[in-house]
Chain length 712, copies 2
């Protein structure tokens, strides 16, 4: 196979016949419909009741975002909504039973995710209060802290700030500059902000409502810095004024989430009691002697941060909820809206255009994949936090999985919101149709709870570590065996998702048949092989730097940064594909499963199309076969088109959740009215003839006259 051969359309079309050859049952499906109710049940997942309860709340107009408020008004409204949520009690799901909670970690996140369709400001303010501020007290504090602080946090009596990020340090938490120095004489912590860059920044509740904060600071006692720990620090009195030594600033208007009063805080030698150290992972005695159940300062730090993984887990699901709602709106509109006359003179429905199918249905497939992988993530999260599956390895896997999936899904949400916005034209730009509002709010999801690029770099490094662990003590031959045989499995096992379990009979060979691309083992092979090979390539480059100076080694890794991030993305995409495929395995063999299998194929082949250069560059697909990928995608979107509305209906969002003027049937009504008007004019003979038609008639008349003259 020579890659200088020009792939002509003719060549390619020979292979297309294969793609068109129906699998058993394909024809029947063209007529059949998916079972929307059954699919909807499946999509609700393990915490169906909590999701439905949250959706019922979201339906309440009191919780809805109102677009044209000033920042001050929006903040007030969100605060009122917070109190409603607190009074409702549903926010207590995750908290300890000792303080009236239910220790239902998965259900808590599932319900939380649904809030995004009320108003993302409410969701994130709730996330700050209960998911960060409250969760820090819960996970980093001990029983006494739970009793002292949690009830008022749960009831919103004490709105609080999660004061981690500083103006000078965001993702690099270990380098925070705020200090908490133990004063033995008073048995107090002295919280201090040494310079402007160490101001706490972007904290929700900081600008206005917060009366306390969990402040992350370098714990210093007896002249030793024991690293970042969390301290409970009151910041405002009952009158709303800062307490002595506390000051701050307002972050002002943002790109969205303006219902949240994000702001800055600084501390000038603020004293808090020794017992305000949240001391689960590190404590001092009255005389200032430090101790920790975790010996290594590095592992201690990551363990503390790891307890806060739920933020990333919840953003993964929330981002997809917004994407799914956007797709439900844009697909409904695309299924009703007509534009430009087709060859029969009738105007074409937008969703009948190939490009419109490409734009919306590929993203719909991704949202399905994100949904299934999120459900896996949520189960793993629940397993770890409920204690059912809580081992250090499970925690580490959970963190890697959450980092990979959150990055991909938050970008997917923005990409989908923007594409839906544009696919609906001017109507898509109006606040009443929600895309732009959700985009502005969700924009920040890509960099908070961990900048996506930083998170992916962590994932990439984890993949490299896993890879290098294969080689401990191995000789060269064994090295190669391990490299060829086991890496992909290790990577997958390390992902926390169970394996798809396919046979890898001719692993590494070129995909020989276009039709094979729709086989899941073939897709799996292509996707997993890419991850494995990319990891290997980087690892080998790094391996060559062994023995060089630390700076040179760092330089080698730095020069592969872009590739490392791409590798981490590829890994995350594989996990999504695998979760989708696992979900299919659980479904009965019916029309719904068949249609969803096409959706999975569209997702898988969409990934292969996106990375086609890699497959060609590395000889994994021949040019001839690669050329069929895009054509097969064109066929898949056409095949899915009749099921598009059903596939978004299965998300289960009602008009009270979508709340978009263009997704109410109004467009279909307008189209019907317009067509009825023209038809009535036509029937009545009052439709003006067009100049064009008149010219055609005149020409025909002239021609007839000439012919008549000739005949005469």
């Amino acid at each position: 196979m020579n890659n200088t051969t020009r792939t002509t359309t003719d060549d390619a079309e020979l292979h297309d016949a294969e793609l068109d050859s129906p699998e058993p049952g394909d024809r029947a499906v063209d007529q059949a419909r998916i079972d929307v109710a059954d699919l909807g049940e499946r999509l609700l997942g393990a915490w169906k009741d909590e999701r439905l309860a949250a959706r019922a709340k979201v339906a309440n107009p009191e919780y809805h975002k109102v677009p044209d408020l000033t920042m001050a008004e929006h903040r007030e409204r969100t605060l009122r909504q917070m109190q409603m949520l607190a009074d409702d009690g549903a926010v207590n799901l995750a908290f300890p039973r000792s303080v009236g909670g239910h220790e239902n970690h998965g259900g808590n996140i599932a319900g939380f995710e649904e809030l995004v369709l009320a108003d993302p400001s409410l969701q994130i303010k709730a996330g700050v209060q209960w998911g960060l501020f409250g969760a820090a007290v819960m996970h980093l504090g001990t029983d006494e802290h739970h009793r002292r602080f949690l009830p008022d946090i749960m009831s919103m009596k004490v709105p609080g700030v999660y004061a981690m990020t500083e103006t000078g340090h965001g993702s690099d938490v270990a380098s925070l500059a705020t200090t908490a120095t133990y004063d033995e004489s008073t048995e107090e912590w002295v919280i201090n902000t040494p310079f402007r860059g160490a101001w706490k920044d972007y904290g929700g509740n900081a600008a206005l409502h917060g009366t306390a904060a969990v402040v992350f600071a370098q714990l210093i006692t007896k002249g030793v810095n024991h690293g970042v720990h969390a301290f409970y620090v009151p910041i405002r009195g009952d009158n709303g004024d800062y307490l002595d030594g506390v000051g701050g600033d307002d972050d002002g208007v943002k790109g969205g989430l303006n219902g949240i009063d994000n702001g800055r805080l600084h501390f000038t030698n603020v004293h808090v009691p020794r017992s305000n150290l949240l001391n689960r992972y590190g404590d001092v005695t009255a005389d200032g002697t430090y101790s920790s159940p975790i010996e290594s300062p590095g592992r201690r730090f990551f363990t503390m941060l790891g307890t806060l993984v739920q933020g990333r887990v919840s953003l993964d699901g929330s981002a997809n909820a917004a994407a799914k709602a956007a797709l439900a709106i844009a697909i409904r509109y695309g299924d009703e809206r007509r534009q430009f006359a087709g060859p029969d003179g009738d105007e074409t429905v937008l969703l009948d255009y190939q490009l419109h199918q490409r734009r919306l249905l590929t993203r719909l497939a991704t949202s399905y994949a994100v949904g299934f992988s999120h459900e896996s993530l949520l189960r793993q999260f629940h397993g770890v936090f409920s204690g059912e599956l809580d081992t250090p390895e499970q925690r580490e896997d959970l963190e890697t999985l959450a980092a990979a999936l959150k990055s991909l899904s938050t970008w997917h949400a923005l990409d989908t919101l923007q594409e839906c916005r544009e696919a609906c034209g001017g109507a898509g730009y109006l606040a009443e149709n929600r895309f732009t509002q959700l985009y502005g709010d969700l924009d920040i999801y890509t960099t908070f709870e961990g900048d996506n690029h930083v998170l992916l770099q962590l994932v990439g490094k984890r993949l490299l570590t896993d890879y290098s662990e294969q080689f401990r003590g191995a000789d060269a031959r064994k090295t190669v065996q391990i490299m060829v045989g086991k890496v992909a499995l290790r990577i997958l096992a390390g992902s926390g998702l169970r394996q798809a379990g396919q046979a890898f009979a001719d692993f590494g060979s070129i995909a020989r048949s276009a039709g094979r691309l729709r086989r899941p083992d073939e897709q799996y092979e292509l996707l997993s092989d890419r991850v494995r090979t990319m990891v290997e390539d980087i690892a080998m480059s790094i391996g060559r730097a062994r023995g060089k100076s630390k700076a040179e080694q760092a330089d080698v890794l730095a020069r592969h940064q872009h590739r490392l991030i791409e590798t981490a993305k590829a890994h995350g995409e594989l996990l999504q594909w695998e979760a989708f495929t696992n979900a299919l395995a659980d479904m009965p063999d019916d029309t719904t499963k068949r249609v969803l299998t096409w959706v999975r194929d569209l997702f898988g082949l969409g990934l292969i199309e996106q990375h086609l250069d890699w497959y060609l560059l590395n000889g994994r697909l021949s040019a001839q076969r690669a050329a069929t990928v895009s054509r097969y995608i064109d066929r898949l979107v056409a095949r899915l088109r009749p099921h598009a509305q059903d596939l978004v209906d299965a998300f289960g969002y009602g008009p009270e959740h979508l709340r978009a003027a263009i997704a109410t049937g109004a467009e279909a009504e307008r189209q019907d009215e317009a067509r009825a008007y023209v038809e009535a004019q036509r029937r009545a003979g009052t439709l003006p003839v067009t100049e064009k038609e008149l010219r055609r008639r005149a020409e025909a008349e002239t021609k007839r006259a000439k012919e008549a003259a000739v005949t005469a």
Copy 2:
């Protein structure tokens, strides 16, 4: 060359040496700096004075966007700014001398583009008033209309609506449903909205401020529909109330541009005098007899629409102005901000990370390309509208060029704003740093003045038409000759850009040397060959449908819609690359030119990297050579990194234009303060030792003690 060969990193690194081999002068440039002032002059282009005058205006705080206004307050503010602009008189540049204008079409657009950095709401409201409403009167009306209407339009005495788009019809203007029926008895036009879908929608000035509108409607006289024409229609009285028969609605809050009162209008048999038809391209006598200087209704329609190309031209430049400002802000911040310690313990400057360079500098290269291609577009626009170069072919080329470039640049702006936002983390999300505000405002630029996808489809169809014209009367052999030899030239000639003039010695051959990728003729060959081949492929598929039914032919084109759009994009990218290369040819052979040549290479190779799958699929690059493209880009961004700040400084925006808190040097100050603080503590011996360091010391101590014990 077998494409099943695995391209190992080792293979690739062999070729990398070629990329690293310096061209004459490369080394010197590493030390030298570009001449920012000289480059800045060049970038100001042909209408430097008008640009600088507009930038001086933009510096006035009265014109600046204020983030936290309600929609009503923002509309009021924008209206006041409009009056200031009108009083200033600068908005009259394009209007006829007969009414006090200057007929300076290029200068008018150049100045208009700069307004985006004041407030895009002001820019677009100005665009509605003078660029659409006023320009329609100017271009579609005749002298009498100019005298009657233009003075009040220019002075803002009559704010007006450009009432083209309807709720039911956006990009498909020919299908508008509003009617203007001539009533011979009263010698009046009767403007009527037949159904809800025919309401005029999204019109600026429609919701509140407009007192007149240019209404596009189907002209009907003597029972014949002569197609869409424009009518001047008063809509509100002095008291602000609708006139009889006029009604409407407010579009409400949008994703941005909330300083503009977009709204809907409908007409119930509203009568206007016969002379209110803007009659340059079609008129009726008192008895209702229609006449037009353009015989064909189709050509007449496109001629009328074509006069309004300036909207697209101006968006191309405006979008890039926003992208350039965003890059200036993000690069300044990236050059000051530090995050995560490097191997020497010092924190690394963001812009020293490969990924950060990749994210920002590739987009910087695109902004340079967009800037140069925009200058070409603006000159062509001025040539046509000043009458200097006004032929039907030039007009048609201008429209194709504007459609291609506007689509690419408006997407580039959104992509760049979002990437800059994320590259600045939480700070990027604050309104005070502008990215999110500009994003919300510019979002709609991708679908107004023509939906980008619809525009690109027009470009694609033009390419096919040009292609098929080669074959008129040609036999099969000649067909092939033409196909192989001339198509690329024809396509380029049709673009209105002068040709780069390279020799195509081994056209179609595989790029044999990695080093050759930096040769402009090689880049040209790769980019232009791709356009040519993609056009050919679609044309051949369509050719095979010859003789089939109209519906089948339409189906073939429909099945290639996605590829046609990709082809149009490739064409636009080639035009951008060519304009950049032409601009380099005009520069003296100095450091600035050398650095800009790297920027051009980064743009060109960036395109080749984006479409690498195509080059591999079609055998235009071998796998081995293709693998070097990404590595060469990594080298280019590293090489450009020291010049990054100079390259954005050359855009010439001062702090009064950028107005971003993070682009004021504040971050550098904070970094300096933090480092000075730590250094002072270190010198004073008060810096707490870390637990980690303490453990290291303890271990060393134990080791020493053991050794001492052994020695003793």
